[in-house]
């Protein structure tokens, strides 16, 4: 599935379903933060905006 179709499909999910995906994304973010992997690739003080852009 190409990226635009994937985005459209995700956008069409119910709010409840999208919230659960959002929670999973946060869980991943926290796991990566706890692992220390992010420190190796991003300088200290990186803010939320950077992390969002990084995905």
């Amino acid at each position: 599935m190409d990226k635009s179709k994937m985005r459209a499909r995700l956008a069409s999910l119910s709010f409840s379903e999208k919230i659960k995906i959002l929670e999973k994304l946060r869980e991943r973010d926290r796991t990566i933060a706890a692992s220390g992997l992010r420190k190796k690739t991003k300088p200290a003080g990186t803010d939320k905006t950077d992390r969002l852009a990084e995905g």
Partner: protein
């Protein structure tokens, strides 16, 4: 074109897995806020920010929940204070982390509606549910207008997403922009991001 990476299905699993395997819930967070509203600590509220945008767009990573609220003031009082919210929620076991209060595992930032744009956004917020819990989300046009006013990189990203995905009514957005004196910021945004785009 700025575009936040959504997620990689290969590392997170299928959409169905993502939907059914979440580990903690914004639902619990919203239930606490609804109880607080029922107890008269806050008036009307609406979800804004990235979580609010998720109502209209595909989910994108965020660390917190922005909740715009009407904070009742004491008779004759003019000062908006978040203390009643914090006191109420701390008594329920919530913890404070910088400008956030952690409810149901999620950092929540309460933002008292303090100007005409935010008050209008609350008044016109859309009723919805997260699972079976009722809540309110700002309209896409108000989310975009507030993002335009805030003007950080991630806010501009969000406006672009709204536009690219046809999630905002351009006419309604234009009226909000005019009504709240954001035409100058919109012109700058157009010049920086939209010139040369079709549609």
């Amino acid at each position: 074109m700025l575009s936040p990476v959504l997620f990689d299905p290969q590392t997170l699993g299928s959409i169905a897995e993502l939907v059914h395997n979440a580990y903690m819930g914004i639902k619990a967070t919203i239930e606490s806020i609804n109880r607080m509203q029922a107890d008269g600590i806050i008036g009307k509220y609406a979800i804004g920010g990235a979580v609010g945008a998720t109502f209209y767009l595909e989910p994108a990573a965020t660390l917190d929940v922005d909740v715009f609220v009407i904070v009742p003031t004491k008779a004759g009082g003019l000062l908006l204070s978040l203390s009643p919210i914090y006191d109420y929620l701390k008594a329920q076991g919530a913890t404070i982390e910088d400008e956030h209060i952690v409810i149901g595992g999620w950092p929540v930032q309460f933002l008292p509606a303090s100007d005409d744009l935010e008050l209008e956004a609350l008044a016109q917020a859309v009723a919805t549910t997260i699972e079976d819990v009722g809540t309110w989300v700002m309209t896409a046009e108000h989310l975009a207008a507030i993002a335009l006013r805030t003007g950080r990189s991630k806010d501009h990203n969000r406006i672009l997403q709204f536009l690219e995905q046809g999630a905002v009514d351009r006419k309604k957005l234009s009226l909000i922009i005019d009504r709240h004196n954001l035409a100058g910021k919109w012109k700058q945004f157009e010049h920086r991001f939209l010139e040369g785009m079709h549609g």
